[in-house]
Symmetry: none
Subunit: 241 residues, 2 copies
């Protein structure tokens, strides 16, 4: 994967640092940077390690830096996350748009403090202000939740551009097998006197429509023909064919 870094600015709660490490690793990223954390030992606290869970490697190799300037300078695109709109500052785009333009450029996602988010002066280091579409009445994502959504969107965007191979689908039964099944079922339903051939009421058409929607596998055709066979075997005195 290309260079994508995840920058947390002046984080207070070490648990959030661990949760952020886990969030980015689950989406295939591994560059975590803490800028001026409240607790300089953040990445070694038991809380952070517990919440990182299997992303302890990402946490252990996280970089701790003193200024936003240093943390952002190698990225072509720097996305400052914010719910609030600002009159001045870099252009404002959605997280989807940000991930779309970041596909083939080194980029960084920058998150402010838990209590106040990014300050006006922090946008000096951002190429874009990025918002996450949220409930207008309550749009306050927790820091680690915001990291999760951004990491998820960034992965989706990169996957789309890699044009992922679609999962192989097992072949479905062919039309000849389906038609033979329908005839067999028709005989079975007549045998148990569910279907009256003189008043068929579109029963077979309705079943066919259900099966067509599902797309039957050959094993399922066999299973259903087994049912039909047994209906006939156990009931040979049904409606006259």
């Amino acid at each position: 994967m290309q260079s994508v870094s995840w920058i947390l600015h002046q984080t207070s709660h070490t648990g959030n640092v661990g949760s952020a490490a886990r969030a980015i690793k689950t989406m295939g990223f591994d560059q975590l940077i803490l800028v001026d954390p409240k607790n300089p030992e953040a990445i070694q606290t038991p809380d952070a390690i517990a919440l990182a869970s299997g992303a302890d490697d990402v946490l252990a190799k996280a970089q701790v830096m003193t200024t936003l300037d240093k943390a952002t300078k190698s990225s072509r695109l720097v996305f400052g996350l914010s719910a609030r709109d600002r009159e001045f500052g870099p252009p404002s785009i959605s997280i989807k748009e940000a991930c779309a333009i970041a596909k083939d450029q080194s980029c960084a996602f920058l998150f402010g403090t838990e209590r106040t988010g990014l300050r006006n002066e922090d946008y000096h280091y951002c190429t874009h202000r990025v918002w996450i579409d949220a409930n207008p009445i309550y749009s306050s994502l927790n820091l680690a939740q915001a990291v999760m959504v951004c990491a998820y969107e960034m992965r989706q965007s990169l996957q789309e551009s890699a044009q992922l191979k679609l999962p192989q689908v097992a072949p479905r039964a062919n039309i000849e097998a389906i038609n033979a099944l329908m005839e067999h079922l028709r005989e079975g339903l007549i045998a148990i006197e569910f279907l009256d051939p003189s008043h068929p009421k579109k029963l077979m058409e309705r079943l066919r429509s259900l099966f067509d929607r599902a797309g039957l596998y050959p094993e399922e055709v066999d299973l259903l023909r087994g049912v039909a066979k047994q209906m006939i075997l156990k009931n040979d005195k049904g409606f006259k064919l």
Copy 2:
């Protein structure tokens, strides 16, 4: 917004309950259901309240229920979140696909325990198994992170559909009706001696998987129950129940 519920099954950590409440509220949802939580007072713990933050109202009105049956029965679509693939059980789709088909139907997102996720038997209450695209090397999202991603995707999907009108899809049968149908069919297949209850050979699971793939309409459930009824009526000397 339409009916979307968020069901947490046997959650251990009350903090996760609070974080889940916050996640769903930020995305505009408010129906949180706890099924058989480890701590029955979960929604009143200081930990949960602290992590819910401004979503304390969602937490306070969360319902606590005893069984998955009760929690899921009014939903037409029930999405069981899981990273693992299973041979049997409902069809497996991505979270994006799930949110796309859920646009105009009542639906529920079901999350298993922190340690083990959903168990095989829990999928009995699901119409679909749903996976979140993640790092194949480490795909373990924390419970509240998984809720966050699903809520985010569901919101995106609803926002899109609010913008472009989609063709109306007739409502599907709910999970309670499907489970009742399966039991009725089981009795019918035993009556015609197709299903031997001492050697069931996963027959019912295979049929269920076919029906889940099709997504049965209420009229189709009625039709199939008619077949089951007739199999029983015409064959009362089948394998012993």
